[in-house]
Amino acid sequence: MTEWLNVILQGVLIGGLYAMFAAGLSLIFGVMRLVNIAHGDLIVLAAYVALMVTQTLGLDPLTSLLLVVPAMAIIGYALQRLLLNRTLGDDLLPPLLVTFGLSIIIQNGLLELFTADSRKLQAGAVETMTYQIGTGIWVGLLPFIQFVVAVAVIAALQVLFYRTALGRAFRATSDDQSVAQLMGLDTRHVFAMAMALSLAVVAIAGVFLAVRSNFDPAIGPARLIFGFEAVIIGGLGSMWGTLAGGVILGVSQAIGAQIDPGWQLLAGHIVFLIILAVRPQGLFPKVSG
């Protein structure tokens, strides 16, 4: 019994990471209906940026966020202004193909620069600290921090979306681009800000991913898929739903892995497909307003 509780708890905590993968994806889909195929590769790119920052400046991974987050946000802004804004329109192929191309470029660029070797960020003592919270139930400090950060990120996005002028601009632009322009909003800038924000979240997710496990240039697409599944499970357009989606995916994978290590990913995909079959609008769809 306690064994299963531990498994579920670990699944919940990893779910926070998946929710962060999903939040950035959901954000830009919400604002500009763009599905970014390179999202997972950008998470991996953030991990490599963190690797360089920690190695050259001798910072620990969590402190490196102070540099990695703004760096990724700037990359996001530039990417949107210079490239992705050109792909937006009624046709869904251009954004899909261009982000697919970007995915290939990032993967092979990283391969060229860093080889295919596995890397990992070392966070020191934080990594091994665990606390007993009940008889036989243990929580690692790092997964716990990661989950708390994920909840904080989702809460911050929620506040930003519904309480700030930028959030208002995001929602207005999402509703009606041309009228948004009549309000003095430069939609190209609004979209670029959304991508900057998305990649800021990607940066946090990338650093936690890199501390938690090994990474190499090829692991991006799987992260995209986890994020995508969490978005759909949670229901499009709902930030807290995204967190729930991430947790459900994390728990499914943890239970699958407990049954048979080969079933970890499969269990997650199958739960996703079941939810798609019985409740295609997701578990917590946005209340239409």
């Binding site: 869904l92 261009v98 697919f100 995915s103 290939i104 470029i105 092979n108 060229e112 080969g262 798609l276």
Partner: protein, 348 residues
């Protein structure tokens, strides 16, 4: 002159008549390739042909039916694994296995469509990718087919195809040529049929097509199933040529989807000639840039982005628009007999 007699619908144009002539010559040359090309050339041509077929199928799916899938590797891999399963476990002849793999994959694609069609647009794309991942993970659970590390085709089954290595290579090459021609011919036939008109309408404007009484979902489902059929047969052939299969190679998103999409877009999406032109460019780039290692893939991605943004109709699209060429008689053109007569009067 009766009201009906005043015009007729023609498919052919002058360029397409020349095109058909050229195609016949190229096909003859390709059919005779074993007598003029060396082994390496045959292998390259066979591989090129399979990419023409895969890209043409994806073009049908995305360019005509608007189903932008990034999960076609599901059916490439399924076809490959079906062939290996039939040959290894059932003792089926490899060539027969190719033709059985098609219908099985078509059957499998129906429940897949039932699920993924619930997702719209770009989410459909990633949904198909998830399905391909599920196939990959399931394949690595099948231990009789080598599990995660894969398996080779038993030597006995290979030898049973043809006694000598050369005969086998000829056989596989001709098979690749025949299958690719069959796939292309089927696509042309489909596009010239009643469904083809509906598909072109959907390509041009889905909402208008729907309101003109076309059952868009049904047409899309038909195309999805047919594409799975063809893709799985080509997949089976690809892994018969490779003689070895593993989950990662069989269900590779880069090999069977990313490059196939790049080929189609670079050549010209929504045109039958596009994938052929794209494949030739792709192989040309691969042969000249392969020394660069992974940089070559990076360049490929960049070229695809540039073409998509600055020449969204692809290279064939540019040519076709400038010169009004079409290699295959697919477009319907209304020819007014009065105009034709007036034109001939003028000449006389």
């Amino acid at each position: 002159m009766s009201e009906q007699g005043r015009y007729r619908v023609e498919h052919a144009t002058r360029s397409s008549r020349i095109g058909v002539g050229l195609i016949v010559i190229v096909l003859l040359a390709l059919a005779l390739a074993p007598f003029w090309g060396d082994r390496q050339m045959l292998r390259l041509l066979a591989e090129l042909l399979t990419f023409v077929a895969l890209a043409s199928l994806w073009n049908l799916l995305a360019g005509y039916a608007g189903l932008v899938s990034v999960g076609q590797q599901a059916f490439v891999g399924l076809g490959g694994y079906l062939l290996f399963a039939m040959v290894i476990l059932g003792g089926v002849h490899p060539i027969a296995a190719i033709f059985i793999a098609g219908p099985i994959a078509a059957l499998v694609s129906i429940p897949v469509a039932a699920l993924t069609f619930r997702l719209r647009g770009a989410y459909f794309a990633i949904g198909t990718w998830v399905v391909a991942e599920v196939f990959r993970l399931l394949a690595s659970q099948v231990s009789v087919l080598g599990g995660g590390s894969g398996i080779s085709l038993p030597a006995a089954a290979v030898i049973a195809m043809a006694p000598t290595r050369q005969a086998r290579e000829f056989e596989i090459y001709w098979l690749a040529l025949a299958l690719t021609v069959m796939v292309l011919a089927a696509i042309v036939a489909l596009l010239r049929s009643r469904h083809g008109l509906a598909l072109t309408a959907i390509r041009d404007n889905e909402v208008a097509a729907q309101s003109n009484g076309i059952d868009v979902t049904r047409v899309k489902l038909i195309v999805y199933v047919l594409t799975a059929f063809g893709t799985a047969m080509i997949g089976a052939l690809i892994f018969l040529m490779k003689l070895r299969i593993s989950p990662d190679t069989a269900f590779s998103v880069n090999d069977w989807t990313a490059f196939v999409i790049f080929i189609t877009v670079i050549g010209g999406i929504g045109r039958i000639e596009g994938p052929i032109v794209g494949t030739i460019i792709f192989f040309f780039m691969r042969q000249t840039l392969s020394d660069l290692g992974s940089l070559y893939l990076l360049i490929m991605g960049a070229v695809a982005i540039v073409v998509m943004l600055w020449a969204p109709k692809g290279l064939w699209g540019l040519i076709a628009e400038r010169y009004g060429w079409q290699a295959l008689p697919l477009q319907r053109q209304l020819v007014f007999d009065d105009d034709a007569r007036r034109a001939s009067d003028k000449r006389a």
